[in-house]
Every structure is written in C-alpha cells, then in structure tokens.
Amino acid sequence: MLHRSLSRRQFLKTTALTGAGLALVACAPAVAPAAEGQPSGGEKKEVRVMLSSWAVNEVPFDQMAQEFNANHGDIEVKIDSSDDTTKLVAQVASGKVDWSGYGIISPFLDIVANVSSGLIQPMDELISVSTEEGATTLMEDMIPSVRADASYEDKLYIIPYSFENITFNWRNDYFGAAGVSEAPRTWDAWYEAASAIKATSGDAELIPTSFVGALWTDAGALIASALEQPYTSEGLLDWMSEEAIAALEFYRKMVAEELTPPHGFDGWFESFQRGKVASVQAQSSRGVWGQNIHGKDKWTTSVIPTMREGTGSGTVYWGNGLGVVNKAPYPQEVVDFYVFAFGPANTNFQKAVIQSGKTPVYNSSYDQIINVEAEFEAYRWMSGMRDDVTNSLPVPRNTFYLIQHNAYAKRIVEFTDDPTMTAEQCAQLIFDDSMAEIEKQQVQ
C-alpha cells in the first residue's frame, strides 16, 4: 500500500539523512582553486571598486568602467556604490578582500586614517609599471600641490580625479547693482562690497555674503590666506597668530553688521537656493551649483580675498580621489583602470569632470581643454583656481581637522553671540579645546 504521508519516524530519518548529505557535500574538497587572486582559465578578472554613492551620481565612473572593460577583454571592472567601508576594513584585516579600489578619499579627512588602519596601499610602483596611455605622464602632469595632498610620507596613496579649493563665489548682478564689477581682493574690499550691497539692494532678505559653517571654508581659509605658513609645527592652524586673531575679528564684524546670516552661515543654503545670497566663500563647486540653479551668467568664481593683497599661502584645497585597497585581489588592474579612466590621456573624462563643475588635477587639462577649446570658455575661471592651488600649501598630514573643526564650530557661535568675548579669547579657547582633544588621542 502506498503511503502518501510520512510517519514521525520517517520524517526524522529523512531529515537526518538530508542533513548528513548536505554536511558531506559541504565538506567535499573544492575544485582546485586558481592561484591567489587570479581567475581560473577563461574567467574574467572581476575588479571591484567601492565608491561613495554621491560620487557615482556626479561623475561618470560607470561609463568609464564600461569603456575600460570593452578595451580589456580579460578584466571586468565593477563600480559598487555600497559605501560599506566597515566591511572592507574587516576584509582587509581577515586577508580575503573582494574589492580592489576604494573611494572617495578626501585626504585632509581620510588619508592618515586610511593609511594607518591599513585600508589603502601606495601606488607609485603600480603606476610606474602600468602600460595604460597616460601612465608615464600622470605623475608629472598632476598639479604638484595636488600630488602632495594625495601623498603620505612621500608615497602616492590616492589618484585624484578633481580638486576642491576654497573660493569666492559671487553674483555678478547683485555686485554690479552695487557698483562692484570685480571680485574683492582684500578683506577690506570684501567688507566694502558687502556693505554696498546691503545699502543699495533694498531687499531685506538679500544676504550680501555668507560662509558655510565649516572650518576650512570659513575662518580656516581666512587664516590660510593671511599667513605665509598658516600651520604650526604640531600641524594645527596657527590660532594664536596676529592674522588668525584678525581673521576672527573680521568674521565677527561681518556677522555683527548683518552682512552675513546669523553666526555667518545659519540657513545659508536655503537662502542660496532661493537666490538670496550675493556671495559665498566656499568650495568652487558651490559657484557651479549657483550657475546651474540661477544661470551660468549669474555666478563668478574667484580666488578668496586675503588680509593683505599679494600675501599669504593661497587657499585651502584638497583632491577627491580613489585608492588601492590593501591586499586587493587586483591592485595592478585597478590602477590600470584609474589611469585609463581619469588619467591625463582620457580627455573625455576630463571634459566630463570640468562640465560637472569640478576642477581637474592635470595641467594638460587646462592647457589643452579649458584654455583652448571654445566650448569650455565658461570654465576658464578654473585656470585661476589652478594657479591659486599651485601656490597653496597642502593641509598637514594628521587627524586634527575634525578636532579643530568641532572646537571652532562650538566657539565661533559663542564668539558671534557674545560681544564681550575677544578674538584672542576665542582663538585661545579653540586652541585649548583642540589641544585637550589631541591629548586624548595619545595612546597611553
């Protein structure tokens, strides 16, 4: 007789047999693996690159991967915007890594942490043996100060595809209406221009100038532009210098006379979007955002005004780039991809970067595209940024940025709220807070 249902005993037997079978299958030796990091015969090398999702939306990395894959039959680059750094670090620690490339890395925030934690490896040698077009000129062609920013202990850890620098972004129409036709070059000229806009606009909602609420973009850039050497030997901003005190005083004067939003930056972005900000000291990409929102003819990007014309160390800047993961399965292939995709020879990519409002990192992009091609006339302001950055000092290689930023963000609000606090006291508090936090970072 055919039984259609299982008895309890039969069920348990079946379950046990199935479990034992699965266990045996799991214990069976795997097919002979290919050599470490290499695919078995006929398979493509899967080169995975982990990228921040915002970057994938801004820059055509996917398209570059497709082009690279089309030119390299044995390699498949996959752009992965999973942003799963924690998993990547865990993999590096375990020695079995899925990803070969990692980004976006902003050196002033990440390079020390990424190198110290063993997340990324230097790539000088990998570039030197790369056969991709542009590999031989990449290092020489890169703006030297940007290359210095992408390096740590004289080794290149990041290939930047663009740089950000702090600039003065201003509205031609608002400045023109106030009788100002050029970007201010000094703090005094900046103050006068902002005062003129406030006096003449008749629009109570219009903000003559704004900061954006971060150390590097605000007081940090003021101090960097005022001093020949803005950083102390410990790697901090020189808070106790006369120029730093003057920068804080200038900042407060602008806030106190309501030439900026409250505290210098409160709600600046919403006002900016509404077209109610006449100028903003921020990354150059903010000027391009303004052009995209309000029209290309409305915004101009210039170098930041300085304390005294012709002095100082330029501006704060940093590259946006990608690194090679430590213990990556395909370190050479991923560097080949980087060189192919955003090396100096790939003019299509350089053009895409420029058109997205990012400033390119190779001198050839300025000399052969921006300053030459009529189509890129609207981006010639980038040449001024290149010159500014070429003459600027890279930010010290340490983990102190956020420490100083947190101290600054706290104290600048107190400083602009409390008229009895002097600039010297504010600077001292920022310095003391920073040093106290740095003290905590010393391993006992």
């Binding site: 348990l12 620690a93 020390v112 942490a113 110290s116 934690s117 063993g118 909602e205 939003p261 409250p262 505290h263 409160d266 709600g267 919403e270 006002s271 509404r274 109610k276 983990t399 102190f400 956020l402 420490i403 930023h405 947190n406 963000a409 706290k410 104290r411 609000v413 107190e414 709220d417 936090e437 740095i438 905590k440 970072q441 391993v443 006992q444």
Partner: protein, 328 residues
C-alpha cells in the same frame, strides 16, 4: 531497536536491567531537556542571535574596558585592555557630563510630551464612531513614523529656516512677534527645535500602541460606568488609564532609548551637536568619538555607550517595578 515507546509498553516488572537503565536515562533526559529536536529547530535563530546580537554586546563590553582605536591596528587585540581607565577618563570628561545633561533634559521633555500627545490622539481616535474616518485618522497620525527621516528633515528645515521658514513667517506676520527664534542656529532654541521634530516623528507609534490597548478594553465597562453616572473624565481615569497600564510599560521602556540620541538630531545638525554643541547628547558624542575624530577611539565610545545602556536598563527596571501588572 529499543525506543522510548517500546520500553514504555513493556510492564515495569518484565523489563530487563539494561532496559530499565535506558528507560531511566531517557526519562531523566526528557525531564531535563525535553525533545531534542526542538533545539535543532531553534538553532538557526539562536545562532543568528548569538552572532548578530550577543557577540556584539560581548565585544562592545570588552571594548569598553580597552583602548581600542580604529586607525591603530595594534590596539585592536586583547592587549589593549586598560581596566577602568575609560571610566576614570569619563568621570573627568566635561564634554561627557555636559552631553549627558543634554540627553537627560531631552528625555525629560521628550517622554512626557510624546506620551501625552500619543494618549490624547489615541483617545480621540477611539471616540470616532465612523470606522472609515477612524482609519483615516490612524493613518494620518502614523504617517510621520513611516516618512523617511531625510525627507521629513528637509521639510522641517524649511519650516525652521530663520529667514524664509513657515514657522517664523507665521510668528512674525500672524502672531506679531518681532524677533522670532533662530530655531536651528541658536543654542537656546536648537534643543527645543529637535524635540518638536522628534515628538512629531514618534508619537504616532505610541498612539497606535495606546489605540490597541483602548480597543482591547471591554466596551461593557464603559457602558456600565455610564449607567452608574460616570462622565467622560471619570471613565478615562478609572477605566481607560488602568486598562492601558501594560501599554504604558511598553511605551516608557521603549522611550528609555532616546537617552542616547535620535536620528533626527544627526540629520538636522549633522554630527556636530548643533550650534555651540547645544544638542550634543552622549549618543552623538560617542558616535563622534568612535567614528569621526582623531584615532576614532572606539574603546572610550563603547564605555560611554555602556554607561548609557546601564542607565537605560535601570530606567526600564524602575518602570517595570512601578507599573508591573499581570500582563506586562
């Protein structure tokens, strides 16, 4: 093959010594462990729990007693054990105490405000006789809970904007307040601003719990009370409130978690803690310490989180103790 069933079927006096021994062993095992197959079926869930819940707790507990720094691999092992050093540092860390005080202030306002609003909304919805209309109100009150936080915060940033915000526009033009608050920029108002947003985003969940509790109260109690002349307030006080006691326990215990931080704070003010660190709660401070600043001192951050966890457990214990019922 001898089975439990076979042994049981044989009268005790006819069993051999060996069978008797087996019977005793199996009886004992059955009494102590129950059916072993149950363990097999529970195992997958238990393994997942051990890996993803228990192990992180144990690891975090160890980290709290170590000088674990994310960017210094040498500190990741057992050798970085530093005893009570993190807790000694915490005792002298002004930022920690300030952040704890901010967290306590926030919780002291958040818990009653959310509780009262949720209870009020739940009672009001329970009074709506039209079932479709009641459903509509339930959806509306729950909507903020399911709204993605970034989207909600974009809306709230527009509401709070010092120049163009709807709130200040209302205060200025309708109420006639000449100098309305700078909600997100002023250290005096930032905590209030984030408190309003957090209450708005979470009261719907608690209202739903209260509503479930109210719907579970026997309607005959209200009818009997009405016959005895009890008014609405008396019914609420003597029937609804006692009936909702188990729900109060759940709501209060869940609220203990806000002592740390809320995602609203991070989206509205990033992780900087707001203007002059006015909303830097201990949770935010721990996050900053572990994931952003300097060496990324996860050991110290774990110690702060442990202290927060212990405080939350104590609060939960007090709630259970005070509001203990047969059902919760």
């Amino acid at each position: 093959m001898t089975t439990m069933q076979n042994v049981e079927r044989v009268p005790a006096q006819q069993r051999s010594a060996w069978r008797e021994f087996l019977y005793q062993v199996r009886t004992l095992r059955s009494q102590r462990w129950g059916n072993l197959w149950g363990y097999v079926f529970v195992a997958p869930a238990l393994i997942l729990y051990l890996i993803f819940q228990a192990w992180p707790i144990v690891r975090g507990f160890y980290m709290a007693f170590s000088d674990y720094r994310w960017i210094i691999p040498e500190t990741h092992g057992w050798s970085s054990f530093n005893g009570l050093a993190n807790f000694r540092e915490m005792a002298q860390d002004e930022t920690f105490w300030r952040s704890l005080w901010i967290a306590v202030k926030f919780t002291l306002f958040y818990v009653p405000a959310t509780l009262i609003l949720a209870l009020f909304v739940a009672v009001m919805i329970s009074k709506v006789k039209n079932s479709k209309l009641a459903g509509f109100y339930r959806v509306v009150s729950y909507l903020p809970v399911i709204l993605p936080v970034p989207v909600a915060m974009v809306v709230w940033r527009s509401i709070y904007h010092n120049e163009f915000g709807y709130l200040n526009h209302f205060l200025e033009r309708v109420i006639g307040i000449g100098d309305p608050p700078n909600w997100l920029g002023s250290p005096q108002w930032a905590l209030t601003a984030v408190l309003i947003v957090t209450v708005w985003m979470s009261f719907g969940q608690q209202a739903l719990l209260f509503l479930i509790g109210i719907y579970n109260i026997n309607i005959e109690q209200y009818e009997a009370a009405a016959l005895d002349g009890a008014g609405g307030w008396a019914q609420f006080r003597h029937i609804t409130m006692p009936g909702l006691k188990p729900i109060f326990v759940i709501v209060l215990v869940l609220s203990a978690g806000v002592l740390g931080t809320t995602v609203e704070m991070m989206v509205l003010f990033n992780t900087g803690g707001g203007p002059a660190e006015a909303v830097l709660t201990t949770g935010l401070y721990a996050f900053r310490t572990a994931f952003e600043v300097g060496d990324m001192r996860m050991g110290y951050a774990a110690a702060m989180s442990l202290v927060l966890g212990v405080i939350s457990m104590l609060l939960s214990g007090i709630v259970f103790r005070l509001l203990r019922t047969e059902r919760a």
